[in-house]
């Protein structure tokens, strides 16, 4: 990245391959990289998952603690999502409070989970108006090779699906599984020149002009979307993204079971 000429050559190479429908890592335009995951790896968390999509490596941990509900939703638990692009994950990431990229990432993941009503917050009330369960999802990137959105979404969703409400720890009854209703899956496409590809890696993200993340629920309905990047997408490209989000969402659901 630091050598502009090299990156220029790399860019041309990627573009030339794409003109033939090929990608630098051998994938077809709508192929995902291999997805692996491990859940329950952090015992101090109430739910945790580490997800690798290709070389991109993300962890999500869930902590569930008693707290005060918001005044306008006195009977509902509270959901909060944070993400940190720590400097461990890439030479370009800097220490410090989350920047706009980390904030957007957290908010898009949060939106998919919140809008799909994946977590049944109505069941997270202890005493109406006084005490509810607060569910904190914290996401850290360990290795960044593109497509943090889908990796972070998947890690958060898997952490939630395996999370336990720690009633015993706080003298609030038994430990019970976190009430979860569905599995929102995001699928991110990137546009390079006039080609759409799925699951972009780092090099592809660097030269892509637009990004579209689409989150579907178990029925294939849309729950969240986010267009990013300094370019545009046509209405036709949008339709393709929607088709692929439904199809690949189904594939990913099959992978995680």
């Amino acid at each position: 990245m630091s050598n502009p000429m090299l990156s220029e050559i790399r860019r041309d190479h990627i573009m030339n391959l794409l003109a033939d429908g090929k990608r630098i890592d051998g994938r077809g335009t709508s192929d995902l990289r291999s997805i692996t995951f491990e859940t329950g790896l952090v015992e101090s968390a109430d739910g945790s998952a580490r997800v690798k999509i290709g070389k991109t490596d993300v962890i999500a941990g869930v902590k569930i603690v008693p707290g005060t509900p918001f005044p306008d939703t006195p009977d509902s638990g509270v959901l909060t999502t944070g993400a940190e692009l720590i400097p461990m994950a890439h030479a370009t990431f800097e220490s410090g409070p989350p920047g706009e990229d980390a904030i957007e990432l957290a908010r898009v993941v949060d939106r998919g989970i919140r809008e799909s009503k994946m977590v049944d917050v109505s069941k997270l009330c202890v005493t109406p108006g006084e005490k509810v369960w607060m569910c904190f999802i914290d996401i850290y990137a360990y290795d960044y090779d593109g497509n943090l959105f889908d990796a972070a979404n998947l890690a958060a969703v898997l952490a939630l699906r395996t999370a336990v409400v720690p009633g015993e720890q706080y003298g609030l009854g038994e430990n019970t599984p976190l009430p979860v209703t569905c599995t929102p899956i995001s699928v991110t496409a990137a546009k390079i020149g006039n080609t759409l590809i799925l699951d972009p890696n780092f090099d592809e993200e660097q030269i892509s002009c637009s990004r579209l993340t689409v989150t579907t629920d178990d029925e294939g309905n849309f729950r969240a979307m986010q267009k990013g990047g300094k370019g545009s997408i046509t209405l036709d490209e949008l339709r393709q993204c929607l088709d692929m989000a439904v199809e690949k969402g189904r594939e990913i659901r099959a992978i995680i079971g």
């Binding site: 904030i103 908010r107 809008e115 969240a224 979307m225 209405l235 929607l242």
Partner: protein
């Protein structure tokens, strides 16, 4: 989107609580050139939203490490004023405003001829005086006009508006009640000459068919907003000419 309410948001005749039909936007008022110091500015009202946008630039880019040697960068600050919402908002940027600032700047990149101003910064400031669902679209609509008012070369002007869903109906330009108790919100912005999308978000619950309808409705309405943006700029130029004439 809570999607939970006993409130009737659309009646049996398809009429919404503020009297609109499904594909009508709220009253819109756009004025260009409303501030003195800024290089360009605009004021936008959409329903009860009241929004100011100002543009400074192209000017020297601070901090320096953000400079791009081949083009200008666009920096945007979207700010909700403390009294613009029902509960007082604590001053300073929160995560929501950081996200909106980012996607607003990105939406503008495609139409501004940034390549004409290497190393420069074009700074866009959006102030929300009063918020009532739809401020990000109102802000982007105002920012576009302010950029044009600043005389910054652009491929086109960007209009923005939201579509959404409430009470099971696909609706244009949700008002606050529809936003609070409805089922989905889809803010979007396009380049009118090509219908390319430069801003798109969605949250809630929509089938493919509903979403397609929302996008069609939004694109059509963007063209209406576009006409109002151009009108505002025309009025502004006319006024400027008069000023210039009277200066002679």
């Amino acid at each position: 989107m809570s999607g939970q309410t006993d409130m009737v948001l659309v009646d049996d005749n398809g009429i919404r609580i503020d009297g609109r039909t499904a594909d009508q936007h709220r009253p819109i008022k756009i004025e260009a050139g409303v501030l003195s110091n800024a290089d360009g500015s605009a004021y936008v009202e959409i329903g009860k939203n009241k929004v100011l946008a100002a543009v400074y630039g192209p000017r020297e880019c601070h901090p320096r490490h953000l400079q791009n040697p081949s083009k200008a960068i666009i920096q945007c600050k979207y700010n909700m004023e403390a009294f613009s919402v029902s509960d007082r908002k604590r001053p300073g940027p929160d995560r929501r405003s950081v996200e909106i600032s980012k996607i607003t700047a990105e939406a503008l990149e495609k139409v501004v001829l940034t390549e004409l101003y290497p190393r420069a910064s074009i700074d866009v400031y959006i102030e929300i005086m009063q918020a009532n669902a739809g401020t990000r679209c109102a802000g982007l609509t105002a920012a576009s006009v302010a950029l044009a008012d600043a005389g910054i070369p652009m491929r086109d002007i960007i209009p923005a508006i939201a579509a959404g869903k409430a009470d099971g109906h696909v609706l244009l330009d949700l008002n606050k009640e529809e936003d609070n108790y409805g089922e989905a919100d889809v803010p979007m912005a396009i380049i009118p000459s090509t219908d390319e999308i430069v801003l798109l978000q969605m949250d809630g619950n929509m089938t493919r068919e509903e979403f397609d309808r929302a996008v069609s409705m939004g694109v059509a309405a963007c063209h209406e907003v576009y006409e109002l943006q151009k009108d505002a700029l025309k009025r502004r130029y006319t006024a400027k000419e008069k000023e210039d004439d009277s200066d002679e």
